[in-house]
Every structure is written in C-alpha cells, then in structure tokens.
C-alpha cells in the first residue's frame, strides 16, 4: 500500500478533502459552491474503496485504543488492485491525530485508472476535472460527485455519511467475532447488538460471581499481586500460595489461556433476542429456575442461580463441565 505524505498542495489531478466530525450542512454547501466555482464539474470515483481514505479527526479516541491501523485493516481486506495505483493520501489517524484531515480523491472508474495515474502531469482526462481545494484550516468536507449521480449538496452529504458508516462497519467485522460472512448494515448491526449485549451480561455475571466469592469486597491480596505483577515483573514471593497465584495470574493475563474464556468467546456467536435481557436481570433478583430460553449463556445463569440458593462457593471445575455440555448445544 502506498503511503503518501499528508499535504494540502494544489497538485493538479488531486483533490484535497478536509473533514471534521461536526460538519454542518450549511458549511458544506458553502464549500461546495465555492469549489464548484473554481472548477468544472468532475467525476471521480466515490466508491466505498475510495472513501477508505477518509479519516476521522481528533476526537477519535478509539484510535488510541485499538484502531491504530484502521486504514490498513480496512484497506487490507478487500482493496482492489486499482487502489494501489492511486495516489491515495494516508489516513490521518494513521500518521497523527491532528484536527484536519485530508482525503485525496482520485479519479473515475477502473478504465480510467491509467489516465489518472498521470494526473500529476496532465489534466487530459475528459471525465476528470481535478483541482486541489484550498483551505487546510477549514473543517468541512469537499466531495466530488460521481459520474451519473446527483450533484446537489444533500445527496453528496448523504453519500459521505453512508461511506463513513460502511467504513466503520468493516472495522467492526474485525472486532465482532463471526461477522465475516455477513454483509449489509442490518445484519452487521444485529451482530453488534448481540455482541454488546452478551458482553454486558458477562460483566454482570462476573461481578455477581465475584460478589459470591468475596464476602467482604476485600480484594487486597489479589490487587497486591496484580499490581506487583504489572509494576515489577520479576518479583520473588516467599509465600507458596502467593507464588502459585502469581504464576497463574501471570499466565492468565498474558495468554488469556482459560477454558472458560475460550468457551465464552465461542458462545458469543449465537444470537440472543432482546427480551432476554430482562429475563436475565430478573433471574438474579427473583431466582426463577424455570426460565427457559435458547441463549448460550442460559446454562451459565442457571448454574449461578443454583449456586446462590445452595450457597456453595463457586467451583470452576463444575463450570467447565457445564460449558462443555452447552458447547455441544450451541451447534444446533
């Protein structure tokens, strides 16, 4: 993939686009008017692929935490070879986290690629009317209309919006397990919803579990161990218990090697319908063992309820066994 430096120069054949998260339609319209005055109507490719160059601006905290290569991830996935030839500007997020974003649009369709690669030298492509747009300090999006598409500002704005959303969706495919085969917004949203719900339920469940394990909310020992582990990786403990716990924590935290973990991860893929969330929360409060639904975490909660009623300290061994059983059920 080509890495082009960020620039706002008036290079013929390249269009520069800036975008901000808070773009008002009016500003956009203004920009577009101004822009249209400067140049004639052009065409360029406004494909999904193209808009992968669109970068998000400064308040994009997700970038700090795991989207550092959003562009690469996206572009790596399905990027057609034609993109490789273009002078796509790199995503802002990839380089730095400034306010302004530059998107460089390139020209038309597959046939025109070769013509476009010579943009810098010649403005000969009849379908391409490239010109850079001044205004690095402005925070709005300049978009060029594709050939044969409506050119009024609303539809352009709509299109930009849609492209943004589809980009995010692609990133989500990486994040949410089991999304590779699903296309289309509705399905993706469904998966996201299920995943978020299952994660939230897990948190609830785990906090309940911790509450049963610790009669006094006293996590001092563990906290000490974990803190030590992070701060001084090679601390020698005299206590045997501490040692074994230390190693266990170490291995657990580093490898995430945990049968329950793996089971839970696999179980997330199953869809869980929305009304079940209410059922789950009521389970804890009312302890209704008669709840029957097909969620993958169903057995999990039932187990927990039974444990509560019998007030036995929770044993992970039983748990794993139960998961193995439920794992089989998941295949249905």
């Amino acid at each position: 993939m080509q890495h082009c430096p960020y620039t706002t120069m008036n290079i013929p054949g390249n269009t520069v686009v800036t975008s901000g998260t808070d773009v008002s339609v009016f500003e956009r319209q203004q920009a577009r008017m101004k822009w249209q005055q400067q140049q004639q109507e052009g065409l360029f490719n406004g494909n999904d692929h193209q808009f992968r160059g669109l970068v998000e601006v400064k308040p994009d905290p997700g970038l700090q935490y795991g989207w550092p290569d959003f562009s690469d991830g996206c572009q790596g996935q399905a990027i057609p070879s034609l993109m490789e030839d273009h002078n796509l500007k790199k995503r802002k997020a990839h380089e730095d986290q400034k306010q302004k974003v530059v998107l460089k649009e390139n020209s038309v369709k597959e046939k025109k690629i070769k013509g476009c690669s010579e943009e810098n030298s010649a403005e000969t492509s009849s379908k391409e009317k490239p010109k850079a747009v001044e205004g690095p300090k402005q925070e709005y999006i300049h978009v060029r209309a594709r050939r044969g598409q409506a050119t009024d500002s609303h539809s352009l704005a709509e299109r930009v919006r849609r492209e943004k959303i589809s980009e995010r969706m692609k990133y989500l495919q990486d994040l949410v397990p089991g999304c590779n085969k699903i296309t289309g917004k509705a399905g993706m949203l469904d998966e996201i919803i299920n995943y978020v719900q299952s994660l939230q339920k897990q948190v609830e469940f785990l906090s309940m579990k911790l509450a049963t394990l610790q009669p006094r909310l006293d996590f001092d020992i563990d906290s000490l161990i974990m803190k030590e582990m992070f701060e001084v990786p090679a601390v020698a403990y005299s206590a045997e218990v501490a040692n074994s716990a230390y190693f266990q924590v170490n291995s657990l935290l580093e490898m995430g090697n945990n049968p329950i973990d793996a089971m839970l991860r696999r179980s997330i893929g199953g869809p869980v319908s929305i009304p079940e969330t209410f059922v789950v929360s009521s389970c804890f409060n009312q302890m209704q063992p008669g709840v029957t639904w097909d969620g993958d975490l169903h057995n999990l909660y039932r187990m927990e309820i039974q444990q509560e009623s019998s007030t036995i300290p929770f044993q992970p061994h039983k748990f794993t066994g139960l998961y193995e059983g439920s794992n089989l059920k998941m295949e249905l």
Partner: protein, 198 residues
C-alpha cells in the same frame, strides 16, 4: 507481503493498547473497591455485586480519560447518585474532569424532552413513508426500517447513545466493545485468581 506485515503490526498495536487499558482499569477498579470497602457497612450479595459492577464501570470509563462519549455518559450517570460521588471523585482523579462529566447531565435532559415531542409526530411520519413504497422500493423501505430499528436498539445499549446520531453511535459502540472486552477479561482473571487462592 506489506499487508501481512501491517496486519501483524496492527494486531500487536491493539494488544499493546489493550494491555495498557487493562492495567489502568485494574488499578482504578481496585482503588474503587477499596473505597467501597472502607464504608464498612455490611452488604448482602446483591449490594456487593452492584458495588463491584459500579466500580468496574467507573474504572473503565475513567481509564478512557473522558475521551469518549460513552465514558462520559457512564460517569454522569454515576454522579446522579449522591452516594457514588466520593467513589467517582477518587477514581476519576482531578476535579476538572469530574466537573465536565457532570455537565453532560443537563444537556441530556433537554434532548430527552425534545425526543418525546418528536415521538408523538413520529407515527404520522411513518404512515406517510409507507405510502410511496411500491415494488422494488418496498424492499429498500423494509431494509431501511430494519436498520433504523436496530440502530435504535444499539443506541439504548451503548451508554449515552441516545444523544448521538447514527454514525457516532457506531463509533462509540466500537470503543465500548473494546472496553467491555477488557473489563470481562480482567474480571475473569480475577475470578480465577480468587478461586485458586481460596
């Protein structure tokens, strides 16, 4: 081959970032739990669970340093209750951040009242929408409605989601998913450690 390298790099970077997040989360969470514990009241199971969950949520939200909307929403939600103020203050840190999170509350109220008004007219709008849908349009109409319904659900799930437009909700959801994963991982490991110790 460049792509492979980049993918590997991105995964490493993600791991690194999430490790950092985990550390911060653990520290803040333990801090919060100690504060809860110091109140020295005898709590039953459900109360304990609520405290644990609350401190975990606040910890993960503050670990984000208020850079995301959902974290701000969590904190402003927590500060509504007077009892949680000390917890939030100590976990979050300096006063300035805390105050900013508090401001979000008022804007939320205004938007909700607007939304209530809009919902009253929403029914009529839906009826009007249905009329021009014919033939091939029908499929797109249905698809749009599905998407819309699902975004509404997602908005309800992600904390602070109702205030945002569709695009930001997806963005926030991404970040929220990452943080939830971190939370879940840490909690699981803590549970394992605790069970192995006892």
């Amino acid at each position: 081959m460049n792509l492979c390298q980049q993918n590997a790099n991105s995964k490493e970077a993600k791991m690194h970032n999430s490790c950092q997040l985990e550390k911060e989360f653990i520290n803040k969470w333990v801090q919060g739990l100690q504060i809860c514990n110091s109140s020295s009241k005898k709590m039953n199971l459900l109360e304990r669970k609520k405290k644990i969950k609350l401190s975990a949520d606040i910890a993960i939200a503050s670990a984000k340093n208020l850079t995301t909307s959902w974290s701000k929403a969590i904190i402003s939600e927590a500060t509504k209750d007077e009892q949680n103020m000390t917890l939030v203050k100590n976990v979050c840190g300096p006063e300035s951040k805390f105050m900013y999170a508090h401001q979000k509350v008022t804007s939320h109220k205004r938007t909700t009242s607007k939304k209530i008004l809009k919902k009253c007219y929403g029914v009529h709008r839906k009826m009007k929408k249905m009329e021009p849908c014919r033939g091939s349009n029908l499929a797109t109409c249905i698809a749009k409605r599905l998407v819309k319904k699902r975004t509404q659900v997602l908005k309800r799930l992600v904390p602070g989601g109702e205030l945002m437009d569709e695009y930001s909700v997806i963005k926030e959801a991404l970040d929220y998913i990452l943080s939830l994963k971190v939370q879940v991982d840490v909690m699981k490991n803590l549970v394992n450690v605790t069970t192995s110790l006892s």
